[in-house]
Symmetry: C2
Subunit: 249 residues, 2 copies
DNA sequence: CTACATTTGTCCGTATGTATT
DNA sequence: GAATACATACGGACAAATGTA
């Protein structure tokens, strides 16, 4: 095999700055809360112009790694990880790829049900108590406002996913859930007969919890998929529902 | 309910430029291949300075929406959607959240097995033929180089996931797969006894394909999970393997 | 609470290398 | 090859914002 040369892409000055700072942050050399040098200091250290430094900081900010405020004498702040950048790219994907609501819900059914499958094995007693508390919160919010109900619902799923023990699943469900909620914002609050919908949702959650308590992961996963289908199906056109039913066996 | 005022975050000039261009692209007003006005033209239209325009373009470029080259008289080019930005955020997540290889593989097991579950129902005859071709490619690459084998393996999974019909699952498996491959690059090529590993992998793929052909999604999913476990387990410490076995029932 | 020094946000002018015509 | 228009990068300038004495 002859030597294979790769094309030398012209790498911009600001990209080299981004790479170095990124490496420092991702390697842990700069932890959350740490401060970068001021822009003028950075232009000396990297020996580039100020606009180059600024463009690099913009990119780092867009990736959610740092935040800079005007007038702050301490320089840009290194942020703790946030799924904001992931959320942004996924929202973009949803718009330009014209993801259907069904695809998003299907994705949630897959991830959440897998998480509960794992949670049924790994959950602690404390987590079970948290799940109970979340369901109690849903019941309490039945009469009052929908926001509280939704929050308790989210809390339940958060505990489940956390108990599953996979951080990647955790982040992805979080992101996709908020994308879904953005899409159907408003639709839920004035859904027809939402009282009975909420009561049925609570019953489903109780069944899932019971299965988790018994350690029956397969049953818990099946119940959770059905619960999610029931909850979102009313917002879907008939054609899209069938794709979801394929997951209900 | 009283009026709820939200804090007015100071929105930077470049952010408003980003928002407007982003909206134009995501709404489809500017499709892939379209050209943005030149930087000087943009500073007139938005009535902002040059650096403001440039910072906005850098952010848009970081999000994978546009690309600008020096000297191009046509201005920045609107790009077709690419998962590059998603890939970037997920790589960052993997590093700062210290995702284990096991978590990544577990994620793939979940998504790929769900995709094959759907594919068993939705696949066309043409897709079945493509899967066969991919397996043939794996067999052909057995003796020669490992790259060709890996490529054929990827092709098989790509057809499976495409046949599943969920674009979100498709993009996510694609992203996570490349993250995994980056992590274990080199490890595979010089794995002990990789010949028998490859032969076993081919046999597993054939079993999955048979199940897909028969429309037995549950069996196909189970086989695929086991196949993936077998393939990656050798690269995992014992402690991490058990979490994966939880998905093998 | 008021100054003060420093920093960021933004704008402008200029030089250089590059791609298209 | 030459001309033109462009992006890249530099450096200076000023206002607004911020932390501190």
């Amino acid at each position: 095999m002859g030597a294979r040369f790769e094309p030398v892409r012209a790498v911009r000055a600001y990209e080299r700055v981004v790479e170095q700072v990124e490496e420092a942050i991702e390697s842990g050399a700069l932890g959350p809360g740490a401060r970068l040098p001021s822009e003028r200091e950075l232009m000396v250290q990297f020996s580039v112009g100020r606009s180059t430094v600024r463009e690099a900081l913009r990119v780092l900010q867009a990736r959610g790694l740092v935040r800079s405020r005007p007038g702050d004498p301490n320089g840009a702040e290194v942020l703790p990880f946030s799924p904001a950048a992931l959320h942004k790219s996924m929202t973009t994907l949803a718009r330009v790829a014209e993801l259907s609501l069904a695809e998003l819900v299907q994705f949630r059914m897959v991830l959440d049900s897998s998480a509960v499958l794992l949670a049924a094995r790994l959950r602690t007693e404390e987590q079970v108590a948290e799940m109970e508390a979340a369901i109690a919160g849903m019941r309490a919010a039945l009469a009052s406002d929908h926001d509280a109900f939704s929050a308790a619902d989210v809390a339940f799923h958060d505990v489940i996913v956390a108990a599953g023990g996979n951080k990647l699943i955790q982040v992805c469900t979080d992101v996709v859930r908020s994308v879904v909620l953005d899409l159907i914002a408003g639709k839920i609050a004035d859904a027809p007969d939402r009282g009975s919908l909420m009561r049925r949702s609570i019953r489903h959650h109780e069944e899932v919890l019971a299965a988790v308590r018994e350690g029956d992961g397969a049953a818990a996963a099946r119940l959770l998929r059905r619960s999610m289908y029931d909850y979102y199906a009313v917002h879907l056109p008939d054609a899209e529902r069938s794709a979801l039913r394929a997951l209900l066996e």
